[in-house]
C-alpha cells in the first residue's frame, strides 16, 4: 500500500491533479482501528513522511478493487452513471503511467488475494486502448515477484515497461518498522521514489537515467526494461513526460481562428466523452457474441468428442 501511495504522492507533487489520478487501494490500513498511527501510512522506518497526508482522493477502494474494474478503467467500458473521477478520461494525446504492485508470480498479479490478472489480460487491454485511441504513450511499471513476466506479453505500440524482478526472482521489501511491525515498502519502489525525490517539474532527467540508477545489489533482483515497443530513445525521453504535469504552450499559425494553448500530453487526462449509448451497445453485442461463441464451442467440443470416439471405434 505504501508503494502505491508513494507513487501517488510523487506524481501529485510533480503537478498532476487528483482529477487525473485514479488511485485504487484494496486495504483500509490507514483508518483501520488496528493502525497505531490513525490516518497515516509511512514508507520509511523513522516515520518521517506521512504518505496519506491530509489531502487524498482514493477513487476505488475495498471490494471495488477488482480485475474487472481495473480493465474497465483502462478500456473505458463503463456504465454511463459512473462518475468522472472513476474514469480514465484519456485520448490519443495522453501519456499514461500505470503502476501496479502486490503479490504476483509468473505472468500474473493477485488482486485482493482472490483473483488474478494475467499478463495477457493487460496486453489485450492496452491493445484495446490503442485501437480506441486512448493513449499516446504508456509507461507501465510493476513491482511484484517475477514482475518482468507481466510485460512480456505486451504487443501494442508506444509502451515502455519496467519491472522489479526477472523470471524466477522475488522482489524484496526494503525496510522494517519495529513500531508498526511490518515491512513498510518494497526495495524497487523505494529506490525509484528516492530517485524521483530529486526531480522537479522543470527537470530534464531522462528515463534512461532512472533505469541506470537502480542498483541490482541493493534491491536483490534484476529489474527489467522493455523498450522495443517504444518509439523514442530512452535517453531522450524525460521522466516528466509520464510523472509530471508540465504545461507547454503551442503557438498555432495565425491562419487558425483560435490560438489554443494545449497542455503537453500528460498522464491520465483529457475529457473525451464516449457517447454512453455506444458503450452500452458495444458491451451487449460483445456479450451476445460471447454467448454465441460459447454455444459454438460446446458443440465443437461435443463433435470433437464424438470424432474421438468414432476414431477409437474405427481403429478397433
Amino acid at each position: 500500500m505504501a508503494n502505491a501511495l508513494g507513487m501517488y504522492r510523487t506524481v501529485k507533487r510533480l503537478g498532476i491533479p487528483d482529477s487525473n489520478i485514479i488511485l485504487m487501494l484494496a486495504d483500509d490500513a490507514s483508518c483501520n482501528s488496528r493502525n497505531k498511527f490513525p490516518g497515516s501510512v509511512y514508507a520509511n522506518p523513522g516515520r518521517h513522511l506521512d504518505l496519506y497526508g491530509e489531502n487524498i482522493e482514493v477513487d476505488y477502494r475495498g471490494y471495488e478493487v477488482t480485475v474487472e474494474n481495473f480493465i474497465r478503467v483502462l478500456t473505458g467500458r463503463m456504465d454511463p452513471s459512473v462518475p468522472r473521477s472513476k474514469r480514465l478520461l484519456s485520448d490519443e494525446r495522453s501519456n499514461i503511467f500505470v503502476y501496479m504492485t502486490g503479490h504476483g508470480g509468473n505472468e500474473f498479479l493477485k488482486f485482493q488475494d482472490n483473483e488474478e490478472i494475467s499478463a495477457f489480460d493487460i496486453a489485450d487491454a492496452f491493445e484495446q486502448m490503442y485501437q480506441k485511441k486512448r493513449y499516446n504513450e504508456i509507461f507501465f511499471m510493476i513491482d511484484t515477484c517475477q514482475a518482468n513476466t507481466m510485460f512480456s506479453k505486451l504487443y501494442s505500440p508506444n509502451i515502455l515497461a519496467t519491472g522489479s524482478s526477472g523470471l524466477g526472482e522475488n522482489s524484496y521489501s526494503h525496510a522494517n518498522d519495529n513500531d508498526i511491525g511490518v515491512a513498510v515498502i518494497d526495495a524497487f519502489t523505494h529506490y525509484v521514489l528516492e530517485f524521483m525525490e530529486e526531480i522537479n517539474k522543470t527537470s530534464t532527467v531522462s528515463m534512461q537515467e532512472l533505469f541506470n540508477s537502480i542498483d541490482v545489489t541493493k534491491i536483490n533482483s534484476h529489474p527489467g526494461v522493455r523498450s522495443d515497443l517504444f518509439s523514442r530513445p530512452l535517453d531522450k525521453t524525460r521522466i516528466t513526460d509520464f510523472f509530471g504535469g508540465v504545461a507547454q504552450v503551442e503557438i498555432l499559425p495565425p491562419a487558425e481562428p483560435l490560438v489554443a494553448s494545449e497542455e503537453e500530453p500528460e498522464p491520465e487526462h483529457r475529457a473525451t466523452f464516449h457517447p454512453p449509448a455506444r458503450l452500452v451497445k458495444s458491451e451487449s453485442s460483445i456479450a451476445s457474441w460471447l454467448k454465441e461463441q460459447k454455444t459454438l464451442r460446446s458443440w465443437a467440443s461435443v463433435s470433437l468428442l464424438a470424432a474421438g470416439v468414432g476414431w477409437v471405434l474405427s481403429k478397433k
Binding site: 490507514s30 490516518g39 506521512d50 491530509e54 477502494r61 471490494y63 462518475p83
Partner: protein, 535 residues
C-alpha cells in the same frame, strides 16, 4: 506599479467578500458544539450550514429540459449539480465508524449514527427517468464525489421505509408523489479520502474558521467518528446543505494524570488562527459541567443555561479553548440516560451456518409507556420466519407488544427484507423479541474476497413515536436510534475446490481414456517361444 497591483488584489477580494455578505442570497454559518460525556469522553460536533435563499428543489418533470444556471458563491456547486441532475428534494448521507453508545453518551447531536454508510433520499416521481434510475445515478455520483463505495448500495440493499425516515424538511406539492429510497452499507469505513472532498465543499476549506480544526490525524483517532451531508428544503426559506462531522475523543487515553481536561490543542492538535470571512456566524458552544469544579479559558462571550458561547469572528486569535478540572476523573458507578427513552441490544444467535435466531432486547427506562417503530432492512442473506416471532415482557411470553406490522419479504439475489412494526413498551420493563432466521447459501461468485470474515448486516432503526387517537402516528418525538450492526457467518465453500475438482477430473479422464485407448489400440498376441530357447 507592481506594488499598486499588490494592493489592488486584497482590496478586490475584500470587496467581493463584502458583496457576498451583503447580497444575503446565500448564508453560511458554522458551529462547533463540545460536550463532556459521563464516561470522561468528549463529544464534538461540527456543523456547517449553507442556505440558498429562495431556491427550491428541481421538479423531476423538468429533468429533460434545460436547467437554470447555477451560480453559487457559498453553496457547494459539486453537490448542487448532483442534486439538480437527479431531481433530489432531500438527501442524507452519513459515513460513520464505531458504535454510538447511547447509554453512556446520550442522544447524539446528529441522529444518523448508524455504523458504516447510510444514504437516504426523497425524490419526486413523474420524470421520464424512474426514481430507481435516478437513485442509481445519485449513489454513483455521490460515490465519485465522496470517494466512498456507495455504488455498492444497489438494489440488494435498497428499501423504501417511509415511516421511519420522514423528511426533515418540507416536500414541495408537485403532481406526482415523493418517494424515499434508503440503503446502508455497514462495512464501509470512513477515512481521510472522505474528509478531503468534504472539506472541499466548504467555502473556507480547512484554511480558516472552525473547519481549520478538522485534522484527519486526530479525528480518525477518536473512539467514534462520523461525517454527514444533509440536504433539505424549507418551504419559504430555501435549500439548506448541512455538513456535519462528529467525533468522540477520549482525553483520558492520552493524559497520564487521568484528568478530563481538554483543549483544542489536545483534541485536534490545532487552534483557530483566522475566522472564516464569509461565515455569517461562527460560534463555539461548550456545555459546562453542572456539578463539578472547573475552569474555562478564555472567558466566553455569553453563558446561557450552562452553555458557554464563543463568537469566533470577534474573539482574539489564535483561539484555543481549554476546559480544566482540578480533580482527577472518577468513573461513575452507574450511567443515567435521560435523553434516550430505552436502550437496545441486538444479537444473532446460533452456531449453525444454515439457521439462527435474531434477538432484540429493548429496555424501557421510563415510568411511562413508550411507543416506537422498529425497522429492519435486512439483505436477503438473512431471511426471517415471521411465524416464529415471540415477544417476552420481563421474561414472560406476552402478546400485544406488536401492532401495525409491515413486511416485504426478501427475494433471493435481488431484494432485501423490509420489516417494520410498532412496538408498545410497557413502563420500566424489558421486552425481548426473538425470531428464527435462515442464512442464505450463496453462489460461488457472490462471495467477497474475504468471505471467511462474514457479512456485515445493517443496524436496526428505532423511531420513538406518539400515536394519535385516530391511530395514525405523529411525527417522531425525537430522532432515530440505531442498534449495533451484526456480523453473519455464512457457509463458505472451499475456494480451492474448483481447482481440485478440475485437476481430479482431468486425472480420472486421462487415466481412463489412456487405459481404454491402450486396451483398444493394442493388439494382443500370444508369443510362443520354442522350448529349446527357454533353457
Amino acid at each position: 506599479m507592481l506594488l499598486g497591483y499588490r494592493l489592488i488584489w486584497p482590496a478586490t477580494l475584500l470587496h467581493l467578500c463584502l458583496a457576498v455578505l451583503g447580497s444575503q442570497s446565500e448564508l453560511f454559518t458554522e458551529k462547533l458544539t463540545i460536550n463532556s460525556l459521563q464516561d470522561g469522553k468528549v463529544a464534538s460536533k461540527f456543523t456547517f450550514t449553507a442556505l440558498l435563499k429562495g431556491a427550491s428543489p428541481r421538479d423531476p418533470k423538468t429533468l429533460d429540459g434545460e436547467d437554470e444556471s447555477q451560480h453559487y458563491t457559498l453553496f457547494p456547486l459539486a453537490l448542487g449539480q448532483i442534486l439538480r441532475e437527479y431531481g433530489v428534494t432531500e438527501l442524507h448521507l452519513t459515513l460513520n465508524a464505531g458504535n454510538w453508545n447511547y447509554d453512556r453518551w446520550g442522544y447524539p447531536g446528529e441522529s444518523g449514527v448508524g455504523t458504516g454508510a447510510e444514504l437516504w433520499a426523497w425524490m419526486g416521481d413523474g420524470a421520464s427517468k424512474t426514481v430507481d434510475e435516478r437513485w442509481k445515478g445519485l449513489r454513483n455520483a455521490l460515490a465519485g464525489l465522496f470517494c466512498a463505495s456507495l455504488g455498492s448500495l444497489d438494489e440488494l440493499r435498497t428499501t423504501s421505509p417511509a415511516e421511519s425516515f420522514v423528511p426533515e424538511g418540507s416536500l414541495p406539492r408537485w403532481d406526482a408523489a415523493h418517494q424515499i429510497r434508503h440503503a446502508s452499507l455497514p462495512s464501509e469505513h470512513v477515512c481521510t479520502e472522505n474528509l478531503t472532498p468534504f472539506l472541499k465543499l466548504l467555502p473556507c476549506k480547512s484554511l480558516s474558521g472552525i473547519a481549520s480544526l478538522l485534522n484527519p490525524h486526530r479525528l480518525f483517532d477518536a473512539d467514534w467518528h462520523g461525517m454527514g451531508v444533509h440536504v433539505l428544503w424549507h418551504e419559504g426559506e430555501g435549500v439548506e446543505v448541512r455538513l456535519t462531522f462528529q467525533a468522540v475523543s477520549d482525553p483520558l487515553r492520552s493524559l497520564l494524570g487521568k484528568k478530563q481536561d481538554w483543549s483544542f490543542q489536545s483534541l485536534y492538535d490545532r487552534t483557530i488562527h483566522r475566522a472564516c470571512p464569509v461565515a455569517q456566524s461562527s460560534e463555539v458552544v461548550v456545555s459546562l459541567p453542572t456539578n463539578a469544579v472547573y475552569a474555562i479559558q478564555p472567558e466566553p462571550h455569553a453563558v446561557e443555561r450552562n452553555l458557554a458561547v464563543y463568537d469566533v469572528n470577534t474573539i482574539d486569535k489564535p483561539l484555543n479553548i481549554r476546559l480544566i478540572w482540578p480533580d482527577p476523573f472518577t468513573y461513575p458507578l452507574e450511567y443515567h440516560s435521560d435523553s434516550t427513552p430505552f436502550s437496545v441490544k441486538r444479537m444473532l444467535r446460533g452456531s449453525s451456518q444454515a439457521w439462527g435466531q435474531l434477538s432484540v432486547v429493548i429496555t424501557n427506562h421510563r415510568s411511562t409507556e413508550v411507543k416506537t417503530l422498529y425497522l429492519e432492512t435486512m439483505p436477503w442473506l438473512v431471511q426471517f420466519y415471521l411465524h416464529t416471532i415471540q415477544t417476552r415482557v420481563n421474561g414472560v411470553i406476552k402478546d400485544g407488544v406488536f401492532s401495525n406490522l409491515t413486511y416485504i419479504p426478501s427475494v433471493p439475489h435481488s431484494r432485501p427484507t423490509t420489516f417494520q412494526v410498532l412496538l408498545t413498551l410497557p413502563p420500566k420493563s424489558t421486552v425481548e423479541i426473538t425470531m428464527e432466521v435462515t442464512k442464505a447459501f450463496l453462489r460461488y461468485t457472490e462471495h467477497p474476497p474475504d468471505a471467511q470474515r462474514g457479512w456485515d448486516l445493517p443496524p436496526a432503526v428505532f423511531t420513538p413515536v406518539e400515536v394519535m387517537e385516530n391511530g395514525s402516528s405523529s411525527p417522531p418525538l425525537m430522532g432515530r436510534i440505531y442498534s449495533s450492526t451484526l456480523l453473519v457467518d455464512l457457509a463458505t465453500p472451499d475456494f480451492s475446490m474448483p481447482y481440485n475438482v478440475i485437476i481430479f477430473t482431468c486425472s480420472v479422464v486421462a487415466f481412463s481414456f489412456g487405459s481404454i485407448f491402450n486396451l483398444l489400440t493394442r493388439k494382443f498376441a500370444v508369443l510362443r517361444f520354442p522350448p529349446d530357447n527357454a533353457q
